[in-house]
């Protein structure tokens, strides 16, 4: 039994590799976007047979495409940094600069649908659980767990909304032109935003400051209020705070306010005089607001407002000035989708549908026979598939590749 499972796995891997190879020898040139200053970048790949290789460099796009054709990796990465000598060991590369990177992943955004579609498996005892993966198996306590995270439209939409928030802040608060940003669907559960230009020289401490700003880490309401009292006609975070405060106050129940640490008197004012308090907020009258509900309460509400209006980026990615990031136009080894450009403006991002546009095999008329263990219902392009549970099915190439890459199906027949 063990042996035949191993055979199935092997056949599946071979099939996926074959499809990836076809992609890299036919379609890839249409989708691959090589980074600027390509000769200064480090490349790394996950190869089907050999695992991870890195410290590789290419002089040109053609050289890169040729490598992809010959090796057809399961995943392709390049360094956000550009170096004097990209093939040298890490501390001898000679760092020159790096794009500023943001990763927004559904994993980091709480959505209530995860319980429905996320699973994890304990590799020691085989126990399967639902929802977010715990640190240890709930049954045997082992810590070798494997995530079987699914993605759904809700999760992707949440990530997209978060990405739009990020772009808005980068352009209105940091003043970065949209021309200097590129937004991509990561190929799995989120989005990547690459920023070029002035920001490339920022060191790690500076990037930490940018990440903290976006996440609201270290926000001190007293300091911020003091600055606002100088009465500059400045937008930025102030508007975000006002908007979040407005949302917070207009719907908060006494219990919610109590949980934020507000005291009886302030809660009464807010509940009884809600409309007047909301008017004061809209005018941006923070000092008047402080008089109405008390300075302590205002500080607490502001801290909450900043938390609300923060952007759920993964700080690890933004801080790392040597990060390897997925190559735009390459396939994601866990989904068979491509990391694809998700528009260059807020409008085009809004209408972007990753499940149609990142699917390079949609045109294929081939059907693949699979044995599917378990999957919820899902959509690719205009078609819906599943749910499947321990059954043999015949699917078009794109959904078949997705299930095979995710490891929830085997090739059969």
């Amino acid at each position: 039994m063990e042996g035949s499972l191993e055979k199935l796995r092997e056949a599946t891997r071979k099939f996926v590799k074959c499809i990836f190879a076809e992609y890299y020898s036919t379609l890839a040139p249409k989708f691959i976007e090589e980074p600027s200053r390509i000769a200064g970048r480090e490349f790394g790949f996950n190869l089907f047979d050999r695992g991870i290789v890195r410290h590789i460099s290419f002089k040109s796009r053609d050289e890169l495409l040729e490598y992809l054709k010959v090796n057809s990796p399961s995943d392709c990465y390049y360094s956000s940094a550009f170096y004097m000598n990209p093939v040298a060991p890490m501390d001898e590369k000679g760092w020159i600069g790096a794009e500023l990177m943001f990763d927004i992943d559904a994993d980091h955004i709480p959505t209530d649908c995860k319980v429905e579609h996320d699973r994890w498996v304990c590799l020691s005892c085989g126990y399967e659980g639902a929802g977010e993966m715990p640190e240890r198996c709930l049954k045997c306590g082992g810590d070798k767990l494997e995530e079987r995270a699914w993605f759904c439209e809700k999760c992707l939409l949440a990530a997209k909304t978060e990405t739009m928030k990020l772009i808005e802040i980068l352009s209105s608060e940091f003043g970065l032109p949209e021309d200097n940003m590129a937004v991509y669907f990561s190929g799995r559960r989120g989005f990547h935003v690459h920023v070029f230009g002035d920001v490339e020289g920022l060191d790690q401490n500076s990037r930490r400051e940018v990440a903290d700003y976006l996440l609201g880490v270290g926000f001190d309401p007293s300091i911020y209020l003091e600055r606002l009292s100088l009465n500059f006609d400045a937008g930025g975070m102030k508007f975000r705070i006002i908007r979040a405060l407005y949302d917070l106050i207009s719907s908060a129940s006494p219990d919610e306010l109590r949980n934020l640490g507000l005291r009886g008197e302030s809660i009464d004012t807010i509940i009884e005089d809600r409309d007047r308090v909301l008017d004061i907020i809209l005018e941006g009258g923070f000092s008047r607001l402080a008089r109405e509900i008390g300075l302590t309460s205002l500080r607490k509400l502001m801290a909450k407002a900043v938390e609300y209006s923060s952007v759920k980026i993964d700080p690890v990615v933004t801080l790392d000035i040597h990060r390897l990031i997925r190559l735009p136009g390459s396939l994601h080894g866990k989904t068979g989708f491509i990391k694809s450009k998700a528009g260059s403006s807020l409008e085009s991002l809004e209408s972007y549908d990753p499940l149609s546009e990142a699917a390079p095999f949609m045109g294929s008329r081939n059907y693949v026979k699979l044995y599917v263990r378990s999957t919820p219902r899902f959509r690719i392009g205009g078609e819906e598939y599943g749910p499947f549970e321990d059954e043999e099915v015949s699917l078009p190439l794109q959904p078949a590749i997705l299930l095979l890459c995710k490891g929830v199906a085997y090739i059969s027949g």
């Binding site: 060991p89 890490m90 501390d91 640190e135 240890r136 306590g141 082992g142 810590d143 070798k144 209105s172 608060e173 940091f174 003043g175 970065l176 002035d198 920001v199 020289g201 920022l202 060191d203 401490n205 500076s206 930490r208 400051e209 940018v210 990440a211 903290d212 700003y213 609201g216 880490v217 270290g218 926000f219 001190d220 300091i223 911020y224 600055r227 606002l228 100088l230 500059f232 400045a234 937008g235 930025g236 975070m237 102030k238 900043v306 700080p315 690890v316 801080l319």
Partner: protein
């Protein structure tokens, strides 16, 4: 912009800010060459240069002598040369800091145009208005991200279309940081191997070197103080107890704990032992990882454990009162160890580097 570029520095300005390129040009025009340094009439300049350095070491700031602008201007490059001949990093840092503090104090009293001119010289995109100033965020971050007061964090600043609002004083503070950085870079540039100091420098070099070794004997470094559980900072303590009780630690916490313990002088064996005491741990992999952190593998760099701000970003900071003013868990540990072993006057013998 045109105004800033066109700002004409007076001799008095150059005496105050002798690092400006106009100061070097002024000296060229006056016809000074390296040969002059050995001439007798040059002695007052070498004396003043020496004095600049002595002041930097003893008081931490260089005084201002405006009665003879030429002496003041010329003594600066000579002092730079002296520091480079001595080639000591501590001295270079100390001198760069002292000159930048001198410039900072002077800038406080300057008109807007002069401050803007110097800011733009340093590559800053800055504008000064009545009562406040604006600085482009990348310029701001380059220097402000090293400060630890929450007031400097951009999350507590007004940031609008790329501009950070700050007070004129704060702008000057950042300008002086830039001056310090630039000067330190120049001071640490090694001289050509065959460069010989003019004989007028010799006595000064001996005197300064002597002062340096006195200072170093007084403030020895500290490493390898050993393991004192009660002195662990709260963040590391939390990770340590979690690990000992067999709870799962995220990667960054394991890295923090391992590098911290290695930094305070535990051996790779000690650390591996601690980590494999938990169930399921693979000794071979653990040893490999710990050796990597200790700098015995891979890039061969020994990692320093993460700073307080890094831990904060990752949500691992567990602050208590005694963390006040501390930027790094290792510093907090050093303090507590001192207290625990009763080092008294600060430098307990045990803490001294061997």
């Amino acid at each position: 912009m045109a105004l800033k570029e066109g700002y004409r520095f007076t001799d008095r300005d150059l005496a105050k800010y002798p690092f400006l390129r106009e100061a070097a040009r002024y000296l060229e025009e006056a016809g000074f060459t390296v040969k002059d340094m050995e001439a007798e009439y040059f002695q007052p300049i070498v004396d003043r240069a020496y004095f600049r350095i002595v002041e930097a070491m003893e008081r931490g700031v260089v005084s201002l002598k405006l009665d003879e602008p030429r002496l003041e201007i010329a003594s600066f490059p000579v002092a730079v040369l002296l520091v480079r001949f001595i080639g000591d990093e501590f001295l270079a840092r100390r001198y760069a800091l002292a000159e930048s503090l001198r410039a900072r104090e002077l800038l406080e009293g300057e008109p807007k145009l002069l401050i803007e001119a110097i800011a733009s010289r340093l590559g800053f995109k800055a504008e000064i208005y009545d009562g406040y100033a604006k600085l482009y965020f990348t310029d701001y971050l380059k220097y402000a991200s090293r400060f630890h007061d929450p007031r400097w964090k951009i999350v507590n600043r007004i940031l609008d279309h790329g501009w950070i609002l700050l007070s004129r004083r704060e702008l000057i503070r950042l300008i002086s940081e830039a001056i310090q950085d630039n000067l330190f870079k120049i001071l640490s540039r090694p001289l050509p191997g065959d460069a010989k100091p003019p004989f007028t420098f010799e006595a000064k070099i001996i005197a300064i070197t002597g002062m340096l070794s006195d200072r170093k004997a007084k403030y020895g470094g500290w490493v390898d103080v050993g393991f004192v559980e009660d002195a662990l900072p709260p963040c590391v303590k939390a990770m340590y107890t979690a690990l000992k009780s067999g709870r799962h630690l995220p990667h960054i916490a394991r890295f923090t704990l391992a590098s911290f313990l290695l930094n305070i002088g535990l051996t790779v064996d000690d650390v591996v032992k601690l980590f494999v005491s938990i169930p399921d741990a693979d000794e071979r992999i653990t040893r490999y990882q710990v050796e990597h952190i200790a700098g015995m593998r891979g890039s061969m760099t020994k990692y320093t454990s993460p700073s307080c701000s890094t831990l904060k970003t990752h949500g691992l900071c567990v602050e208590d009162e005694s963390c006040k003013g501390v930027k790094h868990p290792l510093i907090r540990y050093k303090r507590s160890v001192r207290r625990a072993i009763g080092g008294g006057g600060g430098d307990g013998g045990k803490l001294r580097e061997a």
